[in-house]
Amino acid sequence: MAHYGTSQFKNGLKLMLEGNPCSIVNNEIVKPGKGQAFNRVKFKDLITGKTLEKTFKSGESLEGADVMELNMQYLYNDGESWHFMDPDSYDQYALDETAMSGAINYLVEQDSCVVTLWNNNPISVTPPNHVVLEVVDTDPGLKGDTAGTGGKPATMNTGVVVQVPLFIAIGEKVKVDTRTNEYAGRA
């Protein structure tokens, strides 16, 4: 894999850091008046999701990480792994629970997600910003309630619990924002 010098650093560049693939979130060049230039860089570790901060002498270089983000279709869960397919190549990929992380809460079969591959192995998945989920359990609401007067917890078909308006009943389909875990309307 190619090496990248500090002058090529930019947001989104994928590099190897301490053995893990990382993505540059912020790259700040600091040149002390009387000193050499440095790059103060914030990274996101693509495996652990943690943020790291490192400072490099300008001129240092790091190995690039072979990371690809592909749109894939979620197929099914066999109890151990979650299976996805690249609709272009029909290649299938299995993700374990660690790689799935919070995405488990929002995956509906046939939905399209972004799967991140490192050296062609899946390391994480990002669900769409909005997904349609079905309410499987919630307290019955009072007739005549309207949106905006508070809410109640509702369990979705994926198992995640979302605050919904009082008028939502079991069996209804609702739109959920996966970034905030918030109710975003009736589907």
């Binding site: 002390p32 008046g33 009387k34 230039a37 103060r40 790291l52 901060e53 400072t55 002498k57």
Partner: protein, 283 residues
């Protein structure tokens, strides 16, 4: 408007405004500051190499040695090989010198200038050593290069350094600078002697200071060296580093050293990046 405020600030204090040449015959020796060279008079058959000044320091010190008294200058300066969102090949500089001021008196006055420009947030002063104790947990004045390398390596930072000052600066940029945002107007003073530049050294610390506004370096000041011998020694140190790094070498500015046959009066001086200073004022 803000430039007028700066001028008024100095005129009110009887500091004389001066203008010195931007084209000079000797480039600066600082290992990490590169001069921009220009060729002149080629058409006259008398080609000569001149350099755009990287700061008006040397020319202003010639005036001080001749007895100018307190002086200030607002000018553009030029540096090669600058890159980044806050670094440019040309930028504005306010440089000034105060006779009989020690470093602390000058810091106080720079703080008053920042306040006069409309930034009324509190001014704090912290020694370089205190900043390292507080934010890095090491005694920077007592720690040698090998120990610093081990410390840097244990934090996943480069330990490939020949000179301790370069590693001190990496640790400062990585650990200390981001924390200085908590102190919007912050002076850092008494640098390790290896970072003395042209400041007087006493009891193993250099009487040098920097001003940070919201964590960004804006000014650099010294309690100034006075004798030609001291300047010759410091210039030579920079040339030695240039040689080791295979960077362009230049002759010492013998004319300047000769001009210091009458040494500089006891004084302190500071260079302030105008864009960085005023950027913070406009927020």
């Amino acid at each position: 408007m803000l430039i007028k405020t700066i001028r008024d600030f100095f005129y009110d204090r009887d500091v004389t405004e001066v203008t010195t040449p931007a084209l000079v015959s000797s480039p600066i020796t600082d290992v990490h500051i590169d001069s921009i060279g220009v060729r002149v008079n080629e058409g006259l058959g008398k080609a000569d190499a001149l350099y755009l000044h990287t700061s008006p320091e040397i020319e202003m010190k010639r005036l001080l040695a001749k007895g100018s008294g307190d002086i200030f200058q607002i000018c553009s300066v030029y540096r090669d090989n600058e890159y980044g969102e806050r670094n440019f090949n040309e930028f504005g500089m306010l440089e000034y010198y105060r006779l009989d001021f020690d470093m602390h008196q000058l810091m106080s006055e720079v703080g008053e200038l920042v306040n006069a420009l409309g930034d009324s947030r509190p001014v704090i002063k912290m020694s370089y050593s205190e900043a390292f104790t507080r934010y890095v947990g090491i005694d920077i004045l007592q720690t040698d290069l090998d120990t610093l390398k081990i410390f840097a390596g244990s934090h996943g930072l480069s330990d490939d350094f020949h000179w301790i000052e370069d590693l001190q600066m990496l640790l400062f940029v990585h650990f200390v600078e981001p924390k200085l945002r908590q102190h919007p107007i912050c002076f850092i003073y008494d640098f390790p002697s290896q970072q003395a530049a042209l400041a007087q050294v006493e009891n193993r610390v250099a009487h040098r200071f920097e001003l940070y506004l919201d964590g960004v370096e804006v000014a650099n000041g010294y309690q100034e060296l006075q004798s030609a011998e001291d300047y010759r020694e410091r210039f030579q140190l920079e040339l030695n580093k240039r040689q080791a790094l295979e960077k362009p070498l230049m002759a010492l500015d013998e004319q300047f050293l000769a001009d210091l046959s009458a040494p500089l009066p006891f004084c302190s001086g500071v260079a302030i990046g105008i864009e960085r200073l005023l950027l913070k004022m406009c927020l």
